[in-house]
Amino acid sequence: MLDELTRKIDGALKKIRGQGKLTEANISDALREIRRALLDADVNYKVAKRFVARVKEKSLGAEVMRSITPSQLITKHIHDELTELLGGEAAELRLNASGATAILVVGLQGSGKTTFSGKLAKRLKERGGKPGLVACDVYRPAAIEQLKKLGESIDVPVLTSDEKDPRRIATSAPAFAKERKLDALIYDTAGRLHVDEEMMAEVADIKAIVDPNETLFVVDSMTGQDAVNSAKAFNERVDYDGVVLTKLDGDSRGGCALSIREVVGKPIKFASVGETLDALEPFHPDRLASRILDRGDVVTFVEKAQAHADELESEELEEKLRKNAFDFEDFLKQIKVIKKMGSLSSILAMIPGASKLGAAADVDDDALVKVEAIVNSMTREERREPKLLNGSRRKRIARGSGSTIQDVNRLLKRFKEMKRMMGGIAKSGLPKTFPKGPSPF
């Protein structure tokens, strides 16, 4: 059983040798895959290309610790850049200190504007505010009725009117606020296409009339490549302050958010995650970054390896490896680090390629426990000097660790082979395998 395991793990580990520094050559495959992942996540073609090129430029030459591969490191870099780009400056709503705060909600048809308007009203109200809603969608059948019902459900006044021109409704809103002593007005507007000149002129007019503290552009997170076009066009006409991403309760990867962030540079302020009015969340850049990139396992693995870098690649250990003086004491330390990083199977599961080899699927953590038990049953002297391990000592160790003498023999044999291999690698100057410890299973 240990043999089988060794074969599999060896195969997996061969794949994950560190290679010094990030170079064009050692990350090109990974970058191609990442670009593909971004496109599958609906990141705009040009944006994906530009973004990947930029991170690559920044990353070339970066040190790769021996425990991870260049592919893994560049994936982590991409993830971090993505998080940073999506996050940026704090994205709080600007409230009006003096008069009533005005918030204008705009976007394409069906993106979720009306629902979001209701959610925001509820939120402001819960925080002690006195918000009102203004129904400026005079086009879609029953749009006004929809907002009215939402307002009723949260006991927030809604300004409605038979007026055919939303500009005039907007004009009358401040009086409504004054009369009702409201401290915030949320203007829900009709959905419109960015190529509809008349409608875009209308929304620009509404903005001029309302002079909002915040204009929010509402985007369906399932939007594809075209997101950049609408986001740009709306930005040119109403210069919005922030973006609301809706329908994130689905399983779309939400790449359009990256496209929009990159192209118009406006912060994402809210995430809408359901149809009910309480399904509104502040935006979490890191979560969305993981969702877009879909390489969470690799990122986690790199983070763990980096967090345990001191233990995994200590000077002392390097030295021992170089001198081929690696013993069971070091081995035990490595097992402990691995256990801290998570179970062996979980670590293997994070290694790209390992699953293909079937290693991750079959590795059972009991094997690790067993090996650890064997090593633990050795005395300190034996760990430092495996040559001491004669027949009677082996018998004692087998008994002490609840394993068979064969298990102990196999482990010792493997350990010797591994040392021979490491010696060779150390001499030829090639990087060693990771995790150095558990190879001898």
Binding site: P141, L193, G250
Partner: protein, 313 residues
């Protein structure tokens, strides 16, 4: 009888002009001055196609097939290359059964029951209004059922459409069981000898198991009255949708058998390219496209025209 035959395609063409321009520009850029199609050209073509939401898999396959098609012919210039790509793309849509002259077999069943499903905000209710209007204009009697009992004022929205289309509408109180609405819509159609019953449903994300199983229930409720119904179940997809549309389609088809697709909002700059992957995955045809918010803005889907419109200036 084809209720949409008399609609000319100018509007679709106009609607697609912007998208077409960009795609055509991309392709022309890719091919200008080059006698044969080379790697760089292919990459630019890839950009043009991916920017249309066609999706990596389909683009790769299309370009691969195009390449081998071209390899066997003498003329590998710009014209030939474009033609090959077009042919290949149209073939993919046609393989899934799309034809420009589709007409629902309204006469085959009475009532002919149509179920309209899709994610939130895709354009279902508007499409129901448009369908109702067109069937009505073709001389059929129509009833629409407001089985979106969830969204605020969904009833009222459909009522307005029914009024515009001059057809009957059946609604129940908000919060009612949607399958009861569907049932009663078909029941009313039967009782009153109405030709077509169209059931509008609430938008739902395909990831919500309980809402998806509700769809199956609606289908079964209808089948209780009419064992062959629903006769068509259309999934409405937002033309601006990205690759997630494929997951949508797959999950919806598991919840209730789909017979066709309707792509809405193609009057913007979005190109609706996600439908290629859907057609491929589910092997169901695109039937109509929505090209505006007006009641007339629904057209038969013509695969060749659609592909042509993507490319031609």
């Amino acid at each position: 009888m084809n209720p949409f035959k008399n609609v000319n395609f100018e509007k679709l063409k106009r609607g697609l002009t912007k998208s077409r321009k960009r795609l055509a520009a991309g392709v022309a850029e890719a091919l200008t001055g080059k006698a044969t199609i080379d790697e760089e050209t292919m990459e630019e073509l890839e950009e043009a196609l991916i920017s249309a939401d066609i999706g990596f898999d389909v683009v790769e396959r299309t370009l691969e097939n195009t390449r081998s098609r071209l390899a066997n012919q003498a003329d590998r210039g710009e014209g030939a290359a474009l033609k090959a790509v077009r042919k290949e793309l149209a073939a993919q849509l046609e393989r899934a059964g799309a034809t420009a002259d589709y007409e629902p077999a309204l006469a085959s069943h009475k009532p002919f029951v149509i179920l309209v499903v899709g994610v939130n905000g895709a354009g279902k209710t508007t499409t129901v209004g448009k369908l109702a209007r067109n069937f009505k204009r073709a001389g059929k009697s129509v009833i629409v059922g407001a089985a979106d009992t969830y969204r605020a004022a969904a009833n009222e929205q459909l009522e307005v459409w029914a009024e515009r289309a001059e057809v009957d509408v059946l609604g129940m109180a908000p919060g009612s069981d949607p399958s009861a609405v569907a049932y009663r819509t078909v029941e009313t159609a039967k009782r009153e000898g109405i030709d077509v019953a169209i059931v509008d449903t609430a938008g739902r994300l395909h990831t919500k198991a309980n809402l998806m199983s509700e769809l199956g229930k609606i289908g079964r409720a209808v089948a209780k009255l009419e064992p062959t119904a629903p006769h068509e179940t259309f999934l409405v997809v937002d033309g601006g949708a990205g690759q997630n549309a494929v997951q949508q389609a797959e999950r919806f088809s598991e919840a209730t058998p789909l017979t066709g697709l309707i792509v809405a909002k193609l009057d913007g700059t979005a190109k609706g390219g996600a439908l290629f992957r859907i057609c491929d995955a589910l092997d169901i045809p695109v039937r109509y496209v929505g090209v505006g918010e007006g009641i007339e803005d629904l057209q038969n889907f013509d695969p060749r025209l659609f592909v042509e419109a993507l490319f031609n200036e």
